[in-house]
């Protein structure tokens, strides 16, 4: 006879709850950021007589001013760190010395670049189609097919050890609005979603003379483009 046969429904549910309850969770996000985001939702509902793009643009402005551009969560003793921050980008040190970069909005590239450099990643970050001309591609450091979900070359697989997530920047159709977003100007119909790109970097896998470049490709589809480039003071600091 199986002991499982004797388990009541309550026993089964308790076993499931215990299994999930043991899983470590990220620290709750900052309450002020949650409330700021909530105010943006509320204001969107309260705008009377304004429809369509104008309403969306107004809410976007409120949301942007309410949120900090970037965050770098503090370490915790148990090694588990929060990954949720309602900000333009988040840099988190994760297991194995890897660094997880979550980008929600194309804002404050200089802040993100400084944050990565402070965390030991020689980096160049530009949220514009024109990249830093001082950066030269490292052999095997540029993905071939930008629409694939994961790195292609051996070097890319080591430097970016996890499949990329959500590199696509916007669901808007191609055209003038598309390019406006790529160049960092507000699009006519801004997206208010929390869509985020996630790029995991393994700094120890970088060759000694290499760094990371995060930019934007506007070749066909608007995508965030992580690459390995030659390190130099003009490019990666």
């Amino acid at each position: 006879m199986n002991a499982g046969d004797d388990m009541s429904d309550s026993d089964v549910l308790t076993a499931v709850r215990d299994s999930l309850s043991g899983m470590p969770l990220a620290r709750p996000p900052d309450l002020d950021a949650i409330m700021a985001r909530g105010r943006a939702h509320r204001n969107r509902r309260l705008i009377p007589g304004v429809t369509g793009a104008l309403a969306a643009a107004a809410v976007a402005a409120l949301a942007v001013t309410a949120l900090a551009p970037g965050t770098h969560p503090a370490s915790r003793q148990d090694g588990h760190q929060p990954t949720v921050q309602l900000a333009a980008w988040t840099v988190t040190k994760v297991a194995g010395g890897n660094i997880s970069v979550t980008i929600r909005e194309l804002k404050d590239p200089a802040g993100l670049q400084n944050r990565l450099r402070a965390d030991g990643v020689p980096a160049s970050v530009r949220f514009a189609s024109k990249q830093n001309p001082a950066c030269r591609p490292y052999p095997g450091g540029t993905p071939g097919n930008l629409l694939t979900a994961g790195p292609a070359t051996h070097l890319l697989k080591r430097v970016f050890p996890k499949p990329y997530k959500e590199l696509s920047l916007l669901p808007l159709p191609r055209g003038p609005r598309h390019m406006q977003r790529v160049h960092g100007r507000p699009p006519v119909l801004p997206s208010l979603s929390l869509k985020h790109a996630v790029i995991v970097i393994n700094p120890s896998a970088l060759p000694g003379n290499a760094g990371v470049q995060i930019g934007v490709s506007s070749n066909g589809s608007a995508l965030l483009l992580p690459q390995v480039v030659y390190a130099s003071s003009q490019c990666t600091g």
Binding site: G4, V12, R17, P28, L31, M35, V84, K162, L194
Partner: protein, 163 residues
């Protein structure tokens, strides 16, 4: 801080973890669950005067988070696929956690997962779950029964006794 803000802050602090665990049980991705629950709490604050009078405010947050997720999944279906590493796998779990049980949970139909999550993390009864999901209480019982039956089968081999 106003009384209303203090009240919401208390609710947020007390409810973040159970709501996150409930959503995590349904969506299977920690990061996705965290983002969706954060967004749901933001919406709860936007509608706090309504939510605070809700018979099950935590259930409201969980349902809102899952609805947010549905929209997100629809968006993603037009973009890049969800990467495998974004889902819970046994290697992501700490010591003592039952990866096979969680895998079995993930294989349940979404509605069964949702019913189970609302039951075990928010401790809601069938009638309340039914109101939250907009279905009949009998349907809740059916989803719960079928989900538990599947999970029990997952538990059985590991609790088999000899002799």
């Amino acid at each position: 801080m106003s009384n209303e803000q203090a009240e919401f802050a208390d609710f947020f602090r007390a409810s973040w973890e159970p709501c996150l665990r409930a959503v995590l049980a349904v969506v299977g991705s920690p990061q996705l669950a965290e983002d969706q629950v954060a967004e749901a709490f933001a919406k709860a604050w936007a509608s706090w005067r309504k939510v605070r009078r809700h018979p099950a405010p935590r259930a409201w947050v969980v349902r809102t988070a899952l609805n947010t997720g549905a929209s997100g999944w629809r968006r993603r279906s037009r973009e890049l696929p969800l990467a495998d590493h974004d889902l819970i796998v046994p290697g992501d779990l700490g010591d003592g956690l039952d990866g096979s049980l969680l895998t079995a949970l993930r294989r349940l139909p979404p509605r069964q997962r949702e019913v189970i999550a609302l039951r075990i993390f928010l401790d809601l009864d069938n009638d309340t779950i039914a109101r939250q999901l907009g279905i009949e209480a009998g349907t809740v019982r059916m989803h719960l029964s079928r989900g538990v039956m599947t999970l029990r089968r997952e538990l059985m081999p590991r609790t088999t006794t000899g002799g």
